[in-house]
């Protein structure tokens, strides 16, 4: 379960989150929507432990593994797509899943052996999604994960993410109600 109690965060004089309470049960899926600057990414960063809230507390299940598609790709540029995925995999995980997972997201074996710096924007987003899936997280964090992915490939990607997150907790930040629906999320407006 993810539990946020009375979370507040300000940047300078601008309050972004103020006294936010949130509870998401294990296996729950929540899409956070709202205007730009409403604090959606800040909220995810607080959950991931990347930003400290000014006040309030975050409670995550003990030992829970997090996996994320960040707002930016955050891929290691000189490394291949396959290598980017491999380094986040849990110890003892089957490396044979890398081509399978990348393939399910439309990344061919040729593309997966290229440095990610040579891939297109949409391909990089799909590699970032594959990386999150292959890290086998208990909690999936997705911050506008599908931007730049063409409409033809999008259903394939949402399906792969949704399948990987079965029975797991998922939090999505998006501007698209369709994406929230495709991942079966209940929606919270911020």
């Amino acid at each position: 379960m993810i539990r946020l109690e009375n979370i507040s965060k300000s940047y300078g004089k601008q309050a972004v989150l103020s006294g936010l309470n949130l509870e998401l049960n294990d296996g729950g899926r929540l899409a956070v929507m709202g205007r730009s600057g409403a604090g959606k990414t800040t909220l995810l960063n607080i959950i991931m432990g990347l930003i400290k809230p000014d006040s309030g507390s975050v409670l995550l299940p003990e030992g829970a593994r997090l996996g994320a598609v960040f707002q930016e790709d955050r891929l290691i540029e000189p490394l291949t797509a396959a290598a980017n995925c491999k380094i986040v995999m849990p110890k003892g995980a089957d490396a044979g899943r890398i081509p399978e997972t990348l393939g399910s997201l439309g990344i061919t074996p040729e593309l997966s052996e290229k440095p990610v710096s040579e891939l297109s924007g949409g391909e990089r987003r799909r590699v970032a999604a594959a990386r999150m899936i292959l890290s086998e997280p208990d909690i999936f964090i997705l911050d506008e994960p599908f931007k730049g992915i063409d409409s033809e490939t999008l259903p394939k990607v949402t399906e792969a993410v949704s399948k990987a997150a079965e029975g797991k907790t998922l939090m999505l930040v998006t501007h698209s109600p369709d994406e929230a629906e495709a991942l079966g999320c209940r929606v919270m407006q911020l």
Binding site: M48, G49, L50, R65, L66, G67, A68, F70, E72, R74, I76, E77, P78, L79, T80, A81, A82, A83, N84, C85, K86, I87, V88, A95, I98, S112, E113, P115, R131, S135, I141
Partner: protein, 261 residues
């Protein structure tokens, strides 16, 4: 798409141009030697090369090259290791960075001859080139690696934290590829420096059995041929080691980049 109008020089042509440039300067050297007409002032390339071949087969040559290489490269590797370690510590602890700042500035600004004379007083001449080579290489490696660390992408560190990537993997796959270009550039400068300063130390300190001592003797007896032949040996040793070291770094880089294969 419009084709590029820049002349494309392929690798083969590049090597030919390089060889032609070298040949040109050897001809200029030969012409100069003939014009001067005195071996004492300038020895011809042919005679220098012949002297080099004569020297190569002597046991004295092998032991002098081994003596100097061992010491200069020991200094280089000690500085490489400590430069990297100090840069990592400085990147984490501001106080260490502040403490090391004046040291590196002083080392960079002080003439190498001053250090050589001081080192002779402190340590004697036998292992002088180890210390001098270390001293010249350390600030270059330290400052380059520190700049590399300062330029690492904070967002990648955050990514590693979220995914729980182990410290070793972080070091190898996240930090090393980002720091490597800075390390390569530092090593490229430092490798030339360590040979030049190390040999200079051996000449001034007259380290027995070293290449520097051979140079000193050549100067003492006005053996210009020997002087140029030993200089060629230093250039060859320095270039060979630089090429091998850079190749090793590039192989490591390639191995890391293809880690998923």
């Amino acid at each position: 798409m419009k084709a590029s109008t820049t002349p494309k020089v392929d690798n083969k042509k590049k090597y030919i141009y390089k060889a032609l440039a070298v040949a040109f300067w050897i001809i200029v050297w030969e012409a100069l030697a003939r014009a001067v007409g005195s071996e004492l002032i300038i020895c011809s390339p042919y005679k220098t090369f012949r002297r080099l071949l004569e020297l190569c087969v002597t046991p004295e040559f092998r032991s002098a090259v081994a003596f100097s290489s061992l010491r200069i490269l020991s200094g280089f590797f000690a500085a490489l290791l400590s430069g990297i370690i100090c840069a990592v510590i400085s990147s984490r602890f501001q106080v260490v960075r502040i403490l090391l700042q004046p040291i590196t500035s002083v080392i960079k600004a002080t003439p190498v001859a001053s250090f050589i004379i001081l080192a002779i007083i402190w340590f004697g001449s036998r292992n002088l080139s180890v210390f001098i080579s270390f001293l010249m290489v350390f600030p270059v490696i330290y400052l380059n690696v520190l700049e590399g660390i300062d330029n690492t992408d904070r967002k990648l560190s955050e990514m590693a934290k979220v995914f729980g990537i182990s410290p070793l993997k972080k070091l190898v796959y996240i930090y090393f590829p980002q720091i490597l270009p800075f390390l390569i550039s530092g090593c490229s400068v430092a490798l030339g420096l360590c040979w030049k300063s190390g040999i200079a130390a051996e000449v001034i300190g007259i380290s027995t059995g070293s290449v520097g001592e051979m140079l000193y003797r050549a100067k003492l007896y006005f053996e210009t041929g020997d002087l140029l032949a030993w200089t060629a040996v230093i250039i060859l040793a320095s270039t060979l080691f630089e090429k091998l070291f850079m190749l090793a770094l590039k192989l490591i880089k390639r191995k890391i980049e293809g880690a998923g294969r």
